[in-house]
């Protein structure tokens, strides 16, 4: 019965069989994990954010679970772009699910170098990590500056022939301004949001739990922040938005779609609901759409902007 429901969507030139994409940093450092996630139904996969050189990341503890979410400061561990060739090539042999290469650099030169290599390895799109909340000189430190964002987007855009997505942080005064800069630079879509700057102090020990002290907050707690960001961006910036932040259920994803997202990414929920979450979400989504009389995903996208003061429902 659910077969009559069409949950496919598209972001720029990427056609997705459903709206559920694996978020960067979740089981996506090596080819094997990404293949497993693809087999579990993800419509696309964003790789771990990769930089020019190998990085070990911060010392443990790098993650701590709190009441309504998770705080992590992995510190962008990654094997470096050169070692990553092997990983991308072996995924590409085993799955046709689109692979989105996430990259982070300290300036436009590094971003261009990384994007070009990713393209050569065979990824289908690039996600610019302009938003990691806890790595000095990277991520948010660049992504909170509209000029830098525009510059990086435009330089990367002219270096590659695949779509580029700008992943933004909610830890800025005005995310719409940053999204506009990204679009101006040529970004094909915006991914929002990265994790929220946060801290957990253990009161019995009297120290921040994470070795880096400050980390990024993800999971259930941040959904209302992500929804607000996606709503504001999609209202003001005319490129597709990929929603991410606290999606655990199909209902959460629908909220993002209605806020204006064309697709969504799943991060922490891989912990809360395990790796088979992707197929589960698509089934739940189809069941919900059937119950409420929707046939195509496009009917949901941006709905909260369309209906206004419609009293009789």
């Amino acid at each position: 019965m659910n077969r009559l429901i069409d949950t496919s969507t598209k972001i720029s030139s990427l056609i997705l069989k459903n709206p559920f994409i694996l978020a960067s940093g979740i089981m996506d450092e090596d080819a094997g994990s990404m293949i497993r996630i693809a087999k579990n139904g993800a419509a696309a996969i964003v790789t771990k954010s990769i930089g020019v050189k190998p990085r070990e990341g911060y010392a443990n503890p790098t993650i701590v679970e709190v009441d309504c979410g998770i705080i992590n400061s992995m510190g962008l561990p990654n094997p470096g772009i050169d070692a990553y060739m092997e990983e991308i090539e072996s995924i590409k042999k085993k799955t046709s699910v689109p692979i989105i290469g996430s990259i982070f650099g300290k300036d436009e030169k590094e971003f261009c170098l990384l994007a070009k290599k990713m393209e050569t390895y065979g990824v289908d799109a690039i996600e610019l990590n302009l938003s990691c909340p806890h790595a000095k000189g990277y991520g948010l430190e660049i992504g909170s500056n509209p000029k830098k964002v525009e510059n990086i987007a435009s330089k990367v855009k002219s270096s590659v022939n695949i779509p580029i997505f700008a992943k933004l942080s909610p830890n800025v005064t005005d995310i719409v301004e940053i999204a506009k800069s990204a679009k101006k630079g040529g970004a094909d879509a915006i991914t929002a949001i990265n994790s929220v700057k946060a801290m957990k102090i253990d009161i019995e020990i009297g120290l921040p739990v994470l070795s880096n002290k400050i980390g990024g907050y993800s999971g259930k707690a941040i959904k209302p922040i992500g929804i607000r960001c996606v709503y504001e961006i999609s209202k003001n910036v005319d490129i597709p938005v990929i929603g991410v932040g606290g999606i655990l259920t199909a209902e959460d994803a629908i909220e993002y779609l209605m806020a204006g997202a064309s697709a969504v990414q799943i991060g922490s929920a891989v912990y809360y609901r395990d790796v088979n979450i992707f197929d589960k979400l698509d089934n739940e989504l189809k069941g919900w759409m059937k119950k409420y009389g929707y046939k195509k995903l496009s009917e949901l996208i941006g709905l909260a902007h369309k209906k206004q003061r419609k009293v009789i429902i």
Binding site: E29, D30, G32, I37, T62, I63, P77, D202, L207, V209
Partner: protein, 265 residues
């Protein structure tokens, strides 16, 4: 739903024990009744590090782990005393599954610590027959040889300073040739476990091995510890069946460092 402690629980060390050269046990109060042998904890040394440790003592009142001093974190643990505080979260991972009647357990180095509560569990079940092989480099590093009552224990050391002279895997092959086992369970250096799995393949004996990989999140999220097709040592493991391991080309050959780069084992 989830049974584990998600946020680090702070506990006072109740007792520390020197087990052998550079090997110590730390014990603290905790009801271990829901722990499966083979599961591990993430031990938080506040201000320093958080590292995975198999649970080596399990009972209703206290649990503990046994470790070798190898680097900064384990040295810090080595210096802790009764009354000092550490944090832990877990238990994480799957643990061992006991199958069949006649079981051979093979531990190498600190792998013996991981197997200890499994041995106690097997000994507590009626109608099981247990043989254990403990291997170490030398006599000084051997431990837990007197912990178990009524066990058929064979010992090997690389230098022959005690027991069989040679690798635990050689002794394993020797014993497997002599006796029919329903199951082999092993924990130790990966090269050793690889050999044992190969031997079991040859003799068609079901085998389980407990692996080590660099652990960060410990909860199956970050992907740091993945092997094969996305099998997470921290969550889908650390214990894997032989037929799963046979499909994992890196088993015995490669692991990944903290950056995710492949390094030789």
């Amino acid at each position: 739903m989830r049974n584990e402690i998600a946020y680090p629980k702070i506990v006072k060390i109740k007792k520390t024990k020197r087990e052998a050269k550079n090997i110590k046990t730390i014990l603290f109060e905790y009801d271990g009744k829901n722990i499966t042998p083979g599961q591990f904890l993430m031990i938080w040394i506040p201000g320093l590090d958080e590292i995975p440790m198999s649970i080596s003592y399990i009972n209703n009142k206290e649990i503990g782990f046994t470790f070798r001093k190898v680097g900064e974190a384990t040295t810090a643990l080595y210096n802790l005393k009764k009354g000092n505080k550490i944090g832990f979260r877990g238990p994480y991972g799957n643990g061992f599954t006991i199958k069949g009647k006649n079981i051979l357990v093979v531990g190498g180095g600190t792998g013996i610590a991981t197997l200890a509560p499994l041995i106690e569990k097997i000994l507590s079940i009626k109608n099981k027959k247990l043989t254990a092989i403990f291997g170490a480099k030398t006599k000084d590093e051997m431990f837990f040889t007197r912990r178990f009552r009524g066990i058929n224990l064979k010992i090997s050391t690389d230098d022959g300073s005690i027991g069989f002279k040679g690798m635990a895997s050689e002794l394993t092959e020797k014993i497997i040739k002599e006796e029919n086992f329903d199951q082999v369970i092993t924990c130790g250096p990966e090269k050793m476990m690889k050999k044992i799995v190969d031997i079991c393949n040859l003799y068609k004996i079901p085998v389980q091995a407990s692996l080590e990989r660099y652990i960060k999140c410990g909860i199956g999220l970050c992907g740091q510890c993945c092997i094969g097709e996305g099998l997470r040592v921290c969550k889908d493991g650390p214990v894997f069946e032989g037929d799963v391991l046979n499909k994992i080309s890196e088993f015995g050959y490669f692991k990944r460092d903290a950056s995710g780069k492949k390094i030789k084992i």
